[in-house]
Every structure is written in structure tokens, then in C-alpha cells.
Amino acid sequence: MKYVDEFRDPEKAQTLVEKIRALVDQIDACKSRPLYIMEVCGGHTHAIFRYGIESMLPEEIELVHGPGCPVCVLPMGRVDDCVAIAETPKVIFTTFGDAMRVPGSSKSLLEAKAGGADVRMVYSPLDSLSLARDNPDKEVVFFGLGFETTMPSTALTVLQAEAEGIENFSLFCNHITIIPAIKAILDAPGVQIDGFLGPGHVSMVIGNAPYDFVADQYDRPLVVTGFEPLDILHGIWMVLEQLASGEARIENQYSRVVPDEGNGPALEAIAKVFELREFFEWRGLGSIDHSGVKMREAYAKYDAERKFSVPDLVIADPKACQCGEVLKGVIKPYDCKLFGNDCTPETPMGALMVSSEGACAAYSRYGRVEKLVPLLGRGAGTGTGKAPQAEVEAP
């Protein structure tokens, strides 16, 4: 595959690790405390664990696994809404696979399916539109979730439905926006982040300008970074370079995919179909102003929220869940009392345990791997993603 092997070259990774080591020695702050670098995107969290990146880094660097896993921040009340729609007669409820197992207050979509609801996993919202085309006597609903990365795909699907005059298709829109979430984390008490790895694929859509406030107002570096091991190490190195020289800028490590200005047609489709909500509820982080989008009035007939009556309740997470603290990087997954006992990938209590992009699932799957595991040995080149089962050593 194009530019996959090149960005997994173990020798170059080793060089980068040495460069990172040298930079860490120049940064005064890490003489007294660790340096906290947050990877905002769940895709980065996944890659960091899969390739054992944390274990390759100097001890002074702590990676904080941020809120960029859409499934993980989906509140329980919204899962209940999905279940309610899915259990409506004559509805085919379609979703990306990751959302199937997220617990609602009484059941997940998977459990609703087992109970007889017509819930189907699709690869693309376009597949959902095809189902609507093929089943004119059914109402086909697509569960739209994700950040700006997936927003264009659902917006374009709605536009396609309109162009074809397909009326039995609707979107249950739960898309969220990354910028207010980054801001909420920077403003949260007790949170210490020295720099950010910016989300590569969100940036491919929105471009790099929306992050300017991180440098201008909060004086933190942010480097938009790709998802291969060398990308991530390179991104960390670029953040450290800024920290070492006392600078804070927005940089783009992932220029092969992310144009500075973002994607014009994608942004146009988003602006046409969606508008900002006043606020949106995030699991673990609470309500964040202007952090989600809804469908514009002009597309009301494709809006599942208007088409179906949904409970729309805010359901509090179980008390013992500490997903929010983990999301903000205040505690590590293994500090949560439920971790590994009541909450496991098989029986998740919190959403961070559901998706492979969630920090808790990543910790329980890959564990804290020993320092200097043969570099990138896991899955390098083959892309199978097979990693040794966790030798979990919770400190």
C-alpha cells in the first residue's frame, strides 16, 4: 500500500526516538515533572498502542489519550434514542460497526438487534441509502456519528437522497466538532497538557487554521500528525522542538494528506446540510457549547430527530465510571476502579472500553508493553494489526 511501509521503517523510527531523547534533555520543564502530550484523535490512540509507541519514548514523556474517539464520547441517552428509533416498526436502523456495542441505559444496539429490531451494520452511509432505494416500504435511518472526518459523507448522502427524491431515508445526526472539545479540555481544571498531536483526518477536512487559538490563546504547540508509527514519532519530535525553543505554533506533519486549507467540497456539503447546535452532551465531559451539529430546516424531511419521537434524555453514567477523568488525562485507565473487573472489552461499562480507539480498551488489549519491544515488530509491514495479547502490568 502507498506510503505505509515507508512510514514504518524501524531504523528511521530508532533515529527519531534518539532525536526525541536528545530534545527531552534540553527541556527544563521535564527535570521536575513529565511532559504531557495529548493525542486528540482516537486513531492515534489506536496506533500508539498497536505499535507500542509509548514504550519507545523516554520516561519523561506522558501521552494523554484525548477525546477524539466519537464512539467513546457518545452519551448513554443518545444510545437510548437510537434503540428507540430502531425498535419502531418498519424501521431499518443502520450504523457503523463501532457503535453497536456502546451501552445504553437499558441496552445496546446489539442487544436491541438480538431482541428483534432490524439493526444493520454498514460500511458507508451510501450503503444505507441503497437499502432505502431497495426497500421502499421501510424507513431506513442512518446513525451519523463522528467528527468532521465523517460529516461530509453523511451530508453528501443526504444531498444524494434529495437529488434522487428518496424519501424513506433519514439521518440521526450526532456529529460532533473537535475544536470546542479541545478548548473544553484546555479550560478544564486540573488538566496539564504541554502540547498536542492534532487529528490528521479531521484536519484534512477543516484545514489547519481552526487550531490557531491553541497557539495564540493558550500558548501550546499543536502538530497535525499522520497515523503511521514514523508519523507519530515525527509529530512528537516536532512538538518537542517547539517546546525546547519556547515556541507555540500550529504545524502540519501530515502534509501528504492534509492541505492547509482543508477540503473545499467537503466543507461546502457540511455547511449546506448542517448547522451548529447550541450545545451537545459528551460522555465523560458533560455539555459543551456549540460542539455538535444538527440538520438545517431545509433538510427536515431527512432528519430522523424530527421524523421519530426520541426520548432525548440525559442519562448519567454509573457513578463509579471515571471515563471523564481518563478522557481529560487526569487519571490513567488502570486507575479507574472498574478497569478490568466490572469493565472489560467483553462487558464494557464505559464507552472507552468499547471501541478499539478508546484508551481503556487499548490498555486492556495491549497493556503496558515492556520498554523497547522490538521496534514496530508488531504488525509492521503486514498491516494485520495482530498484536500479542496483553502482558498487562498495571503499575
Binding site: M1, K2, Y3, V4, E6, F7, E11, K12, T15, L16, E18, K19, C41, G42, G43, H46, G68, P70, V71, F96, D98, Y123, S124, P125, L126, D127, G146, F147, T149, T150, P152, S153, L156, P199, H201, V202, M204, V205, F227, L230, H234, Q253, S255, R256, V257, V258, P259, N263, G264, P265, A266, A269, S355, E357, G383
Partner: protein, 93 residues
């Protein structure tokens, strides 16, 4: 869901709707090209291009020149070290 996967456009299947067959890791699938077609890139010119595919849509053209530049930069980082080593090896201080 947010990762996406690189694929190569092998054939345009519907010019009006901007659909194409894309080969992703050996699997061929019809993908929507709306987001990567503009005045500078006509739909016909897309065949052979590498793109990043997300949930049925090509979301970005993978820029070969930028990829090469990044790789070169990474390579250069290593070279400086080698030169320094060579310098040390030759007894300079």
C-alpha cells in the same frame, strides 16, 4: 471509523455522479469522488491517483511530492547523526 485507508483509483464508473472503482488493499469497491474533483482535477484525470478512502468517499488525494519531502526530512535527521559520528570518529572535538 476515522482512520481511512489508502486506495488507488482504477476506473471511472459514473462521470455524472463522480463514482469510481478504487482498489483498496486488493479489494475493489465503488467510491464517491466528489470531494477530490475540482477545476484542476477533472474526473477523467483521477485514474491512477492514490486517495485516502473514508466510509465510501475519497477524502484526499495523497500527495506524492509531500510524502517524499517528509520521508526525506526523516532521512536527513538520520544523516546528521552519521556525519557527527564520522566527525567524532575522525578524532575531532
Amino acid at each position: 471509523m476515522c482512520l481511512g485507508i489508502p486506495g488507488q483509483i482504477v476506473e471511472i464508473t459514473n462521470t455524472a455522479d463522480k463514482l469510481a472503482k478504487v482498489e483498496v488493499a486488493g479489494v475493489k469497491r465503488e467510491i464517491n469522488l466528489v470531494c477530490i474533483v475540482d477545476e484542476d482535477h477533472s474526473i477523467e484525470s483521477c485514474v491512477g491517483d492514490w486517495v485516502l478512502v473514508h466510509v465510501g468517499f475519497a477524502m484526499s488525494r495523497i500527495d506524492a511530492a509531500e510524502a517524499a519531502a517528509t520521508l526525506e526530512l526523516l532521512h536527513a535527521l538520520g544523516e546528521v547523526d552519521e556525519e557527527l559520528d564520522a566527525m567524532r570518529g575522525s578524532g575531532q572535538t
